[in-house]
């Protein structure tokens, strides 16, 4: 069972459909009691950084996410659900994030005027660790991005993927049972589905059965 946090982010339908397509049950909720019991917790997200943080704090979900990750339980963050895990973001002023991992989210500043912001479309991911199980067996390394802000430095404690857009940025991070992606695996065709499947294979059934 995958539990998706519903904190008002508009389009979570495709995240739900992607997991259902992979054959797992999906629960969508904003109730703390249900979120606390989550086997695999998924934080999707689109929209503005601070709005998301405020919405999560209002419901007390910020602390729950931190605990869930601290306890080593499986967690997936997508797009804004990736960005909020870090210390801060410069989107619409300076705002604090959940600070689960070290790092700051900054706007793309590109020297080449031909490069548009948002960074929108299909781009390549390059795993920092060739053995990272979350990025095994992909038909290709292209995934779908839509974002104007990004993480540019990867803390030594983390693995992940790097992507080039005018300059190099961190397109995902992974550590043990945590995978958080700036890109949208649910919109990245077969490659995206494979990344989610890899996560479920590592953290899914075995974890579910012992719960």
């Amino acid at each position: 069972m995958v539990t998706i946090i519903d904190y008002g982010a508009s389009n979570i339908k495709s995240v739900i459909k992607a997991f259902e397509h992979l054959g797992v049950d999906v629960l969508v909720t904003n109730e703390l009691d249900l979120l606390k019991k989550a086997e695999i917790l998924v934080c999707p997200g689109q929209g503005a950084f601070n709005q998301a943080i405020v919405a999560l704090k209002e419901k007390g979900i910020d602390g729950l996410i931190k605990n869930h990750i601290k306890e080593g339980r499986p967690f997936i963050g997508i797009c804004l659900g990736f960005q909020i895990l870090f210390e801060s973001s410069d989107e619409n002023g300076h705002h604090e994030g959940l600070g689960v991992f070290p790092g700051h989210i900054r706007r793309f500043k590109l020297d080449d005027p031909k490069l548009k912001v948002p960074h929108m479309g299909w781009n390549l991911i390059e795993p920092t660790n060739a053995d990272d199980c979350y990025f095994k067996n992909l038909p290709n390394n292209y995934v779908y991005f839509v974002h104007s802000y990004a993480l540019f430095d990867l803390d030594k404690s983390l693995n992940g993927t790097k992507t080039m857009y005018g300059r190099e940025f961190i397109s995902s991070i992974s550590r043990d049972n945590v995978l958080a992606t700036q890109f949208h695996p649910e919109k990245s065709g077969e490659s995206g589905l494979m990344i989610l499947k890899n996560f479920l294979d590592k953290n899914g059934e075995s974890y579910a059965n012992t719960y």
């Binding site: 397509h21 929108m120 299909w122 649910e186």
Partner: protein
């Protein structure tokens, strides 16, 4: 690096894909979901569905169709056609659409773009611009309830914005309009050259380049593709190419287009 996108566009009426010329002689061309999956398999980077349903329960049919599509399609898709308020946008996004494309409603009420881009995020608001080279006898019958003068046609204007599927001239300069929509919060411009649309003589490169250079958001070129060369040419100056008849009549495939682009050093997802 970011790749250039190849985007098949499907006309949908009453939940079916239709083919036709200029909205007449429509022929049923199949189940949109099946076609969408075929284009996905061929390597399409996104899809656009243009709803041309005329019936009164249009909205319900469209929502149902979007839901069905979202169940099985795991690449981004955009829905357009007669969208004119925030509720419809919300309903379409909740049904599973990734983006909505807005044309006439943006010209009538630019505030809709401002509001929708704040409410739902710029990334899902595509503004469709239908542009045609200014004709001397073009008379705009539009009356605006906002100050349209900053975007009006002047002596240097080359292209005019049309609405209502290309039937109504607006007196608005297409390049200024694209820039203005960018400022209002649009996430992308879907730019159709009405002069080139249906000709198969190639995209309007000068229009596409001018608009693309004037905005900071991605531009999708549409109208005029007849050969693979046309597609790789236009992708030199914009971010994505929209394809309709070339693909629907199986004159080429997404795979052929991408292989050609690759051979011309245009980066695509292969």
């Amino acid at each position: 690096m970011l790749t250039k996108r190849i985007i098949p566009c499907l006309d949908v009426a009453d939940g079916r894909v239709v083919k036709g010329t200029n909205f007449v002689n429509l022929v049923d061309a199949g189940d949109p979901v099946e076609l969408a999956l075929r284009y996905d398999k061929e390597g399409a980077d996104e899809l656009v569905f243009l709803d041309i349903t005329a019936s009164s329960d249009k909205r319900a049919i469209l929502i149902e169709f979007v839901k069905k599509t979202a169940e099985v399609l795991f690449i981004p898709f955009t829905v357009g056609g007669g969208i004119n308020d925030s509720e419809t946008i919300r309903d379409l996004l909740l049904a599973g659409a990734d983006k909505v494309s807005i044309n006439t409603a943006a010209v009538r009420n630019p505030a809709l773009i401002r509001e929708a881009s704040v409410q739902f995020g710029s990334q899902c608001i595509v503004v469709a611009v239908d542009a045609r080279r200014i004709r001397e006898n073009s008379v705009s019958e539009y009356s605006f309830d906002y100050d349209v003068s900053p975007v009006s046609i002047d002596n240097e204007s080359v292209w005019e914005v049309y609405t209502h599927g290309g039937r109504k001239p607006t007196g608005i300069d297409a390049v200024k309009w694209a820039k203005f929509m960018n400022e209002c919060g649009a996430g992308e411009i879907l730019l159709t050259s009405m002069d080139c649309d249906g000709t198969k003589d190639g995209y309007d490169i000068s229009l596409t380049k001018k608009v693309s250079d004037s905005v900071t958001i991605p531009v999708i070129a549409s109208g005029g593709a007849g050969t693979l060369e046309h597609i790789s040419d236009v992708l030199d100056c914009c971010d994505a190419a929209l394809l309709a008849s070339l693909l629907h009549y199986r004159l080429t495939t997404v795979g052929d287009i991408k292989n050609h682009c690759q051979s011309k050093s245009v980066r695509v997802r292969l």
